[in-house]
């Protein structure tokens, strides 16, 4: 292998250029994101437009907390964005966060139950764990409860993604919080026995399976329905299902939240605070509602028109911190009943 000299020089200089750490010239905020860039980019663009602060993002679904932990005091990250609640707690419990300033505007925007009382994390959107059901084969299931999924009438008719996905773990943890471990274990065993196929794919894939007749009901977050309705190739799947808010007659539907923390060693803390305030503002909350079809946490900001058309619902009021305490038990249950196998 012979490299022409010019190529070699080019290679080397590019390597060195890449090796030099980027020094912060203009004001900027560095983000570790568990959420896909295409979901948050429009919101961040708006932020930069409004404040002049640049944003830099690393997105990964796994391992960012471990990376942050390893980097310690040198970590360039200012903010971590998560897509579920347990990650927020994990960050706090591992001492990777710092309290953000006591900001009246932010407190005004976000109700207390969506904030850590020590101000280590802030929820930004709510997502409901819904039950999708086949319009043709199941009709009206609007009174369904999560508990009903264990019922023998659903034998071979349920589809779901992996039990270890944070959304399902959250739901199982909330079942433990309400019913205790042993009752939940029996419930999970019965649900497992009702599965039409081994847990696989994402929430959308389950709706597709309902459309194809593989199963009748599935677990899924509500915003996926909105996304499918927008995609011309998936709209047929969405039209085949009803969206049900479970447990409306008793405790209400299980909700999870996406949120943000400021890292313990944030080099640009001030900018991070500004971003946090922006994310809780009316403008950003509206964008979340319109673009991602999630439920805003700021009271008074309406959900998108489409989301509103799915109706009002009652949410489980049990504090998320209580539910999250059962997370590791939930995980052990999933393995004990071999839910994913």
């Amino acid at each position: 292998m012979r490299f022409p000299r010019a190529t070699a020089t080019l290679l080397l200089s590019t390597v060195f250029a890449a090796l030099l750490p980027t020094t912060a010239m203009a004001e900027q905020v560095n983000i570790y994101s568990f959420r896909q860039p295409f979901l948050i980019e429009p919101i961040l663009q708006q932020f930069t437009q409004q404040t002049g602060i640049k944003t830099k993002v690393v997105f990964a679904k796994k391992g960012l907390i471990q990376r942050l932990q390893r980097e310690g005091e040198l970590s360039p990250a200012d903010i971590v964005l998560t897509s579920n609640f347990s990650k927020l707690l994990e960050l706090k419990d591992n001492g990777l966060t710092q309290p953000f300033a006591n900001d009246a505007q932010r407190d005004n925007n976000i109700p207390a139950r969506f904030r850590d009382d020590q101000r280590h994390w802030l929820a930004l959107t709510q997502r409901v764990r819904n039950i999708y059901s086949s319009k043709d084969r199941r009709g009206d299931l609007s009174n369904i409860r999560y508990e009903d999924l264990a019922d023998a009438s659903f034998r071979g008719k349920i589809c779901t993604r992996s039990g270890k996905h944070p959304y399902n773990l959250g739901l199982i943890a909330s079942m433990i919080a309400h019913h205790g471990v042993s009752e939940t274990e029996q419930w999970l065993r019965d649900v497992k026995a009702n599965l039409a196929r081994k847990p696989q794919g994402n929430d959308r894939a389950q709706v597709k399976a309902i459309k194809e007749g593989l199963c009748d009901v599935s677990l899924g977050n509500s915003y996926y329905l909105g996304k499918m309705l927008q995609d011309e190739n998936q709209v047929a799947w969405a039209n085949a299902v009803n969206l049900n808010f479970p447990n409306q007659q008793d405790r209400g539907a299980h909700i999870n939240v996406s949120g943000a923390v400021i890292t313990r060693y944030a080099p640009n803390k001030q900018a991070a605070e500004t971003l946090l305030t922006f994310l809780s503002s009316e403008k950003a909350q509206q964008l979340y509602a319109e673009l991602n079809m999630e439920y805003p946490v700021k009271p008074g900001v309406p959900a998108s028109e489409l989301v509103q058309s799915w109706g009002e619902f009652k949410a489980d009021e049990l504090p998320l911190t209580t539910i999250a305490r059962h997370r590791s038990d939930a995980l052990k249950l999933v393995d004990r009943v071999g839910f994913d196998l």
């Binding site: 290679l11 090796l19 993002v57 690393v58 679904k61 990376r67 390893r70 847990p199």
Partner: protein, 578 residues
């Protein structure tokens, strides 16, 4: 490529009495000895760097026992519940992938090396193309095709009037065998490349002797030709096995839980690094046992054979019938391994044209290309120097270094990434503290905040591929050629430069090529180690594929394939393989 240069140049040059004998030559011949010692030092440093993540993991996994970390019971709980199933799944997926890959690779490699037929030059390169497609992408595409909701089953349902899954049986692609097949389709070119090279360098007179003794072509193939290429076959199978062992994307998509899943789960879901490290160490142990078992069994074998080294084995013209069979089989493999996935991706890109036209893609391609080229060069040079030392100074040290430098391949990308972060972040911390202590400004994360960490990860992860290629290359150079060179008065350096290097050229090229392609496709470590605002093609595609939206990033996936194909295309033009 054969030993031509040796016999063209050796006799006419350097046969002077002034030439020092080999042993003394190493000490006396001017500039080279210090350089060789420098090289030795550099390789040691590199090897230590490569072992660092594994050592870091071992320390982590032992930390609970010596009281450095709180004792946790995650491992025991996993062992009680799912670990056995996971191990069985792993064993089945890996062995299935190896078997399927052998089935796909052996015959085409033999045909292309042994027979001459119309279009062989194109076909022999086309068979490498599937390597350019990451297994998780073909897995995604074949799931779409063969799933219950896919066109194949829809068609069958329409044809026979079935309406529910209970009415008929159809093989489930999201299963262990499905994962094996997807991995084999993406990985068989390893075996194919190594075997084709080995077959075309084989000693023709052995099969001629067998033919004289009346053996049928089939018997010659199974009793003479195949045993002769065993080293290459074994190395190829090992590469496929280790690659499948570390695979996460495909098994995750197919919902097959393997040991790699257990590593991810225990680390990233249970939050127990100790358990993850323990399971990784177990996997490592199995791999080491397998490899050393094979080596032990093979250790008495030596290739002493120079009678034929001077000339290329002649290819046998294939008759019309045989040519047709060859073309048919190869075309089927090529279609499933390459053509169909690519056609589907093109179809996706056109259907979702606006989502796929992304100007940032050009930038991502350049980043990817550059990173992969650097990593492939470093890995190949490292493997060359390690293997050369092992050849000249065979001994426990050289062998240990070689084995240690291949360790990284057994680690799943995410585990390796965190393993790299452990020592590198420490180095960053020390460096910054040092700078502060001498009143200089902190420089931040020099090692982990830049592409340095990513390139290191690539080199560590794929050094085993380079080692494998060069090992196979070296094994095809009979030991007595070295002896001849020494007898003719050359020292080791000259033997290396004038005998080994020309003979190793195909091995060097395939090492570079394979590592380059793997780096382009690499996902988990890239995701975790990349600096801010830095995308490789794989990470770009993944953020969509992970949301089951591959359609929106199909153009990115096509670019991965094109970037991986570039070196193949260039090489097929510049390199006269036979």
């Amino acid at each position: 490529m054969n030993s031509g240069p040796l016999f063209r140049r050796l006799p006419s040059q350097r046969l002077t009495p002034s030439q020092s004998p080999p042993a003394a030559g190493f000490v006396l011949s001017g500039f080279w000895p210090p350089l060789s010692r420098w090289l030795s030092l550099i390789t040691w440093v590199m090897v230590l760097l490569m072992v660092a993540p594994v050592v870091a993991l071992l320390v982590e996994s032992g930390a609970g026992y010596i009281g450095l970390a709180p004792h946790d019971t995650t491992f025991a709980e996993l062992a009680d519940t799912v670990l056995l199933t996971y191990s069985q799944n792993t064993a089945l997926v890996v062995s299935g992938a190896v078997l399927f890959a052998c089935a796909l690779a052996i015959l085409p490699a033999w045909w292309c090396a042994h027979y001459e037929f119309a279009g062989r030059r194109y076909l022999q390169w086309a068979m490498v193309f599937p390597l350019a497609i990451p297994a998780y992408i073909s897995a995604y595409i074949y799931t779409d095709l063969l799933d219950y909701a896919g066109p194949v089953q829809q068609f069958l349902r329409q044809l026979f009037g079935w309406s529910s899954p209970q009415q008929y049986w159809f093989p489930d692609i999201r299963s262990r065998w499905g994962a094996s097949l997807m991995l084999a389709l993406a990985l068989y070119p390893y075996i194919y490349l190594l075997l084709r090279h080995a077959f075309s360098q084989r000693s023709e007179h052995l099969s001629q002797a067998a033919k004289t003794l009346g053996a049928s072509p089939r018997r010659i193939f199974f009793t003479v030709e195949l045993p002769l290429v065993r080293p290459a076959l074994v190395i190829g199978c090992t590469l496929v096995a280790m690659e499948s062992l570390a695979d996460y994307g495909t098994v995750h998509l197919f919902a097959v839980s393997t040991l790699t899943t257990a590593v991810y789960d225990s680390w990233l879901v249970y939050g127990s690094l100790t358990t993850a490290a323990k399971i990784s160490c177990l996997m490592l142990l199995v791999v080491v046992l397998l490899i050393s078992g094979e080596k032990y069994q093979r250790q008495k074998q030596r290739h002493y054979d120079a009678r034929n080294s001077g000339k290329t084995p002649k290819k046998v013209p294939a008759g019309l019938q045989r040519s047709l069979i060859i073309w048919l089989v190869c075309a089927i493999i090529f279609t499933f391994g390459f053509l169909y996935p690519v056609a589907t991706l093109i179809h996706y890109s056109l259907t979702y044209a606006s989502e796929n036209a992304n100007s940032a893609l050009w930038q991502h391609s350049q980043t990817t290309f550059l990173l992969a080229a650097i990593a492939a060069t470093v890995a190949t040079l490292l493997a060359l120097s390690l293997n050369a030392r092992q050849r000249f100074h065979p001994g426990i040290m050289a062998r240990t270094k070689l084995a240690m430098s291949s360790l990284g391949y057994t680690l799943p990308g995410t585990v390796l990434a965190i393993g790299i972060l452990i020592p590198l972040t420490q180095a960053d911390l020390w460096l910054n503290r040092l700078l502060v202590s001498v009143d200089m400004e902190r420089v931040g994360l020099i090692f982990t905040g830049t592409s340095f960490a990513l390139i290191t990860a690539f080199v560590i992860r794929f050094a085993a591929i380079s080692n494998g290629s060069l090992q196979a290359g070296y094994q095809k150079i009979p030991d007595n050629i070295d002896a001849a060179s020494f007898t003719l008065g050359e020292n080791r350096t000259a033997t290396f430069k004038r005998v080994h290097l020309p003979l190793l050229k195909p091995a060097l090229v395939s090492s570079f090529l394979l590592v380059f392609i793997e780096c382009v496709k690499e996902l988990p470590a890239s995701l975790l180690l990349r600096p801010f605002d830095f995308e490789t093609l794989a990470t770009y595609v993944f953020q969509y594929a992970s949301d089951e939206h591959l359609e929106h990033a199909a153009s990115g996936a096509l670019l991965i394939i094109i970037v991986s194909l570039l070196p193949i295309a260039v090489l097929s033009r510049t390199q006269k393989m036979d």
